[in-house]
């Protein structure tokens, strides 16, 4: 194995010897990677002295974090694919090369040829840091032509507008009217066809805000004031909520709680007449959609210019590169005609060069291959790209943008009234904003005292371990045993440094303002004071409440289920290995599959859980549970929206956790195997009943395993994160704002590693205290058969 390793490594070095190797980091799906690699190969053919090493990061959510880690470790790549938000994180910290001089010296690059907004948004404080490669307007409306014909509406041509009320007299020229006319109900009043829907929930909301021309805050560069309770904002929130919860033009956000909405599938099935999304949909729709379909732009609000959201992509050069000239060559190639043509041909990226986007490389034209002539009006993406408008705000403002997003999410799910939620945003947001603006991080971190402190911590730790026992006189034999014990500990003690080093580092960082890349600034106890200042930000308190509620229910249930399963699976029954494997399957499942599976289980309309409780058509009422649940936790007469309802989302998470009980089960099975059969034999000879045997023999001898499950269960439950991050982002109404999710948002969303470290150490202390109590209490109930006196 090591041989393979060395061989690969040396072959890489051999290739690189006489060439310049550029590392290009990107995040793309396998589909686009094929094209990216073809572009690189073509570039290498044209530049024989340059080798491009493509390093794909196959997870969009972790992409920026990996780039940050690389930068922090001085391993930044030469170039990277950067989006509008990623680039800002790096441009602000001065780790990207400003491109203006390079552009000026390159006659083959004319910024005027690019969509003006792409160049505009890739500037930070003046200089251009990213050469645009693609624009992806997300204000595209895909529509089902058959459903338009059935409703007696003309096909939209992009010159339409929207208003708060359907204007029937304008027919298909009024988007709101189309939404209304395209929504159909059955005789029982159930909506069987929806007018529209957006590919993901916040998109619909964000587009309405943009298009209406509202400012939710005073300015993007340096926001200081919020306009959440502005009557126009309240009006818009109310309208957005009504489109779902009152008029039912848009599916009742059953998938709002998940980031992977299925509006796409509903559109394909013809249950949704219009879908707002981006041009990438074409690739799938061409294959899936039986009905005739086409695309147009999101309507402008009456009397306003067209504005729509979008995603920009480009190529940036890291300042740490040793081959600036070569990197610029590649940057020009990738973000120039060569790269764009390949990506456009594959139908993946709309070129950032406008003339290229208008040509039949991207837009359907006479020379396009037949499969790319659908949809016929894809050329309208040019107009959509021109209307792309972004609100790129500073990092200190991320927290407030999240507040708005949370409010939008709640309003769309029907939690709270728009006015109440907005007042909440205004009040909390203003406090947080004022604090963020006041935050003073100008003092340099005292480096040498910090190093000294780190040494002191280690020293104190060592003393704490040894001093109390120094006076104990050991016999010669005991001393020998003690010494030999340390031989057994060597592997762990060797690795301890690698664990404790980062831990101590994060402890020191918790007294600073740190953005991962730049040198930390000293803030003393500021982060800890801020964390407990609930008047300004109650997120920490909420997250502690949520996390403890989850832990209090899930730990005992989890242990009870794992133990019962283990007892069952420890019986002499046919096919034991197979049964055990079956119960362990959920714990073996790949992470990519898990969240999809849960979405399918909890979906209120088509989900398995509601299928069991309410029946496939909603007519059943399992043991009266359906009515009971709906009356207590949801809306009477409607199935429970598990992940979209603040009352049921935590139970749903507990259920998800219980499905992984198989891991605990095999731990208990091992524990049961550790019980010597002689005890059971003795009990049987004494004529003990099953229960008696369990109570007096099995249970006491299992206490070491139960104790283990308790300790690790607490640690695991208090650090629960993944599913909340992937599926609910903390919502609805912060009902799944787990401690770790809040911490992650602070660390990697707002890039406040200092504050996040303080949160981490607060959690550490909480867990330590609970564990210490458990350890102390364990002496009373844990029975160790082989304990050394």
């Amino acid at each position: 194995m090591a041989a393979i390793f060395v061989a690969t490594l040396s072959s890489l070095i051999a290739v690189a010897r006489d060439k310049v190797t550029l590392r290009y980091v990107c995040t793309d799906s396998a589909e686009s990677l094929t094209v990216i690699q073809r572009i690189c190969a073509e570039f290498e053919a044209a530049h024989p002295d340059i080798h491009i090493k493509v390093e794909p990061v196959l997870s969009g959510t972790d992409y920026r974090n990996k780039l940050l880690a690389m930068t922090a470790a001085n391993l930044a790549p030469d170039l990277a694919r950067l989006g509008q938000n990623d680039f800002l994180s790096f441009a602000r910290r001065g780790v990207l090369v400003p491109l203006d001089d390079l552009v000026a010296s390159s006659p083959d690059v004319r910024l005027a040829d690019y969509y003006p907004n792409t160049v505009h948004y890739f500037r930070y404080g003046g200089p251009l840091y990213v050469l645009p490669r693609a624009t992806a307007p997300t204000g595209l409306i895909f529509y089902n032509k058959r459903l338009f014909r059935e409703a007696g509406l003309a096909y939209p041509d992009g010159n339409w507008t929207w208003a708060y009320k359907p204007r029937q007299e304008r027919g298909a020229a009024c988007f709101t009217n189309c939404l209304d006319k395209l929504t159909k109900r059955s005789a029982t009043g159930k909506v069987i066809q929806f007018g529209g829907g957006a590919a993901w929930p916040q998109l619909w909301f964000g587009t309405l805000v943009l298009s209406r021309g509202l400012s939710l805050w005073d300015n993007d560069e340096h926001p200081t004031k919020l306009n959440a309770t502005d009557p126009a904002v309240v009006e818009l929130f109310t309208f957005a909520s009504d489109t779902l919860n009152r008029y039912h033009w848009i599916p009742s956000m059953n998938d709002l709680s998940t980031n992977n909405s299925n509006i796409h599938d509903e559109f394909v099935k013809g249950h949704v007449a219009m879908m707002q999304s981006g041009a990438w949909e074409c690739l799938k729709l061409r294959k899936e959609m039986q009905d005739d379909w086409d695309v147009t732009t999101f309507p402008a609000y009456e009397g306003q210019p067209a504005r729509s959201p979008g995603e920009l992509t480009g190529t940036g050069i890291f300042a740490a590169t040793k081959h600036r000239a070569e990197a610029w060559e590649f940057c020009k190639w990738m973000s120039g005609v060569h790269g764009m043509i390949r990506l456009a041909e594959a139908g993946l990226d709309q070129p950032a060069l406008r003339s290229l986007a208008q040509s039949d490389v991207w837009s359907p034209g006479p020379t396009s291959p037949p499969e790319r002539r659908i949809p016929a009006h894809l050329g309208i993406t040019d107009a959509a790209a021109m209307s792309v408008t972004l609100h790129l705000t500073p990092e200190y403002f991320t927290d407030i943008v999240n507040l708005y997003d949370g409010a939008a999410y709640d309003v769309l799910t029907g939690v709270g009234t728009p006015l109440a939620r907005l007042q909440d945003v205004q009040e909390k947001g203003s406090k947080r904003l004022a604090f963020a603006l006041r935050r003073d991080a100008s003092k340099p971190y005292p480096f040498y005292p910090a190093v000294a402190t780190a040494c002191l911590i280690v020293l104190a730790g060592v003393l704490w371990v040894y001093l109390p026992e120094r006076k104990v006189k050991l016999t010669r034999k005991a001393r020998k045993e003690s010494r030999s014990a340390y031989l057994f500990l060597i592997p762990w003690l060797g690795g301890l440094g690698m664990t404790l080093g980062p831990m101590i580092y994060s402890f020191l960082v918790s007294f600073s303002d740190s953005d991962i890349i730049r040198a930390p600034k000293w803030v003393g106890l500021g982060n800890y004071v801020e964390a407990f200042d609930a008047g300004r930000d109650d997120t920490l308190l909420i997250s502690i409440k949520v996390t403890f509620a989850y832990a209090a229910v899930s730990i005992p249930l989890g242990i009870a289920l794992a133990l019962s399963l283990a007892l069952l699976l420890n019986q002499k029954v046919r096919g034991v290995p197979i049964w055990r494997a079956i119960y362990y399957i959920p714990s073996l499942t790949s992470g990519v599959a898990v969240s999809l599976i849960w979405m399918k289980v909890f979906n209120p309309e088509t989900g398995l859980l509601n299928g069991l409780i309410y029946g496939p058509d909603g007519a059943r009422n399992l043991l009266g549970l359906g009515t009971f649940l709906s009356n207590v936790a949801g809306t009477p007469g409607q199935p429970i929206n598990w992940l979209g309802n603040p009352k049921t989302v935590l139970p749903a998470f507990v259920l998800m956790g219980l499905w992984g009980a198989g891991g605990g089960t095999i731990i208990f099975l091992a524990g049961l195997q550790g019980i010597s059969p002689s005890y059971h034999e003795a009990a049987i000879l004494d004529g003990a009943s099953m229960w008696r045997k369990f109570r007096s023999v099995t249970l006491p001898l299992l206490t070491p395993t139960i104790f283990f499950s308790l300790i690790t269960g607490v640690i695991g439950a208090l650090q629960v994160f993944t599913q909340a991050f992937v599926m609910t982002s903390g919502g609805p109404d912060r009902a799944t704002m787990f401690y770790m999710l809040n911490l992650y948002n602070k660390a990697f969303g707002e890039l406040r590693m200092g504050y996040a470290s303080a949160l981490a150490w607060i959690l550490f202390v909480i867990i330590l205290i609970i564990t210490a109590i458990q350890l102390r209490g364990s002496k009373r109930w844990v029975h160790y058969e082989g304990e050394m006196k």
């Binding site: 196959l58 394909v268 990438w280 949909e281 029954v573 195997q673 002689s678």
Partner: protein, 292 residues
């Protein structure tokens, strides 16, 4: 006498039928639970046999009308997934750490469970405390540390890391098990002049079969399913393990779930089979049961 005999056999028959009734009841309970625990597998398999069109157009719970193996062919032949290469990588980061974890965590656990040494109980608290700090805040410093060691884009973090005790969770689990094993045997052996190493190797390890099997399953699956580790530590596409390579099938905006599920099935079944094969090691160690 005759009467007594028949009563005895009647009792035996009754006891036997009671056992059978229990067996049937047990099977029913197990089967009912199994249905629930098989849901993920069913969904994965069902979707993996659907075409993109059928997946979009039908309920996910319906078995495909025309099952196709095309998704499997696509996943297995996708040049970017590079299944064979990724499978080799996966085995590197699953098998080597498993060996290291079983060996070294048993050693460390043995010291904590069976030996007296200065500061043992406080060191044990240190051991537990390494599990208590959220990994999110040590992610970057750990990365920098690995970079300083030159371990980025290599398998060393897994290879070396595994021989450093195998993590607090495993050490703790094995320690608990060892504390449950009676001390009579080691005391006897010690009187005979056996060293700690002998007691560990000859007496303790053979008695710890079930728990060692458990931690090997955990660390094998942990390595097999590790996503964040490879994502951060590895850069080169040719070093990607399956769990990472298959993420490439997930697009930023549109994901072909039928392909993704085919990939998930392809990586889940080997684990199930491995788990089935491992089962015989879960049974209590051979003879040296102590206690008696």
């Amino acid at each position: 006498m005759n009467q007594g005999e028949s009563r005895f056999s009647q009792q035996a028959v009754r006891a036997k039928s009671l056992v059978e009734v229990n067996q049937v009841l047990l099977l029913i309970v197990l089967a009912a639970g199994a249905v629930l625990f098989m849901v993920p597998l069913y969904l994965m398999v069902a979707i993996s046999f659907k075409t993109e069109t059928e997946y979009a157009a039908t309920s996910p719970w319906i078995w495909p009308a025309h099952p196709t193996i095309q998704n499997y062919v696509t996943v297995l032949t996708d040049p970017h997934v590079n299944f064979a290469r990724a499978a080799v990588n996966t085995f590197i980061i699953a098998v080597i750490p498993t060996i290291g974890t079983v060996l070294t965590s048993a050693m460390v656990a043995f010291a904590f469970a069976r030996l007296q040494f200065r500061g043992r109980d406080r060191l044990f608290v240190v051991l537990l405390s390494t599990m208590m700090l959220p990994a999110a805040v040590t992610l970057i410093p750990s990365y920098v540390l690995n970079a300083k060691l030159g371990w980025i884009d290599t398998f060393y973090p897994w290879i070396v890391g595994a021989f450093l005790g195998g993590g607090a969770f495993n050490i703790f689990l094995v320690r608990q098990f060892m504390l449950g094993v009676s001390t009579e045997m080691d005391e006897a052996a010690r009187l005979d002049g056996a060293s700690n190493a002998t007691i560990f190797w000859r007496l303790m390890l053979p008695n710890c079969g079930p728990v060692l099997a458990t931690i090997s399953v955990f660390s094998f699956i942990g390595g097999f399913r590790d996503f964040m580790g490879p994502l951060m530590m590895l850069n080169s596409p040719e070093k990607q393990p399956l769990e990472l390579a298959l993420r490439g099938l997930q697009g930023a905006h549109s994901t072909q779930y039928n392909l993704l599920m085919a990939g998930a099935v392809l990586t889940t079944f080997p684990l199930i089979i491995m788990f089935l094969l491992c089962q015989r090691y879960f049974v209590r160690g051979i003879s040296l049961t102590g206690g008696k």
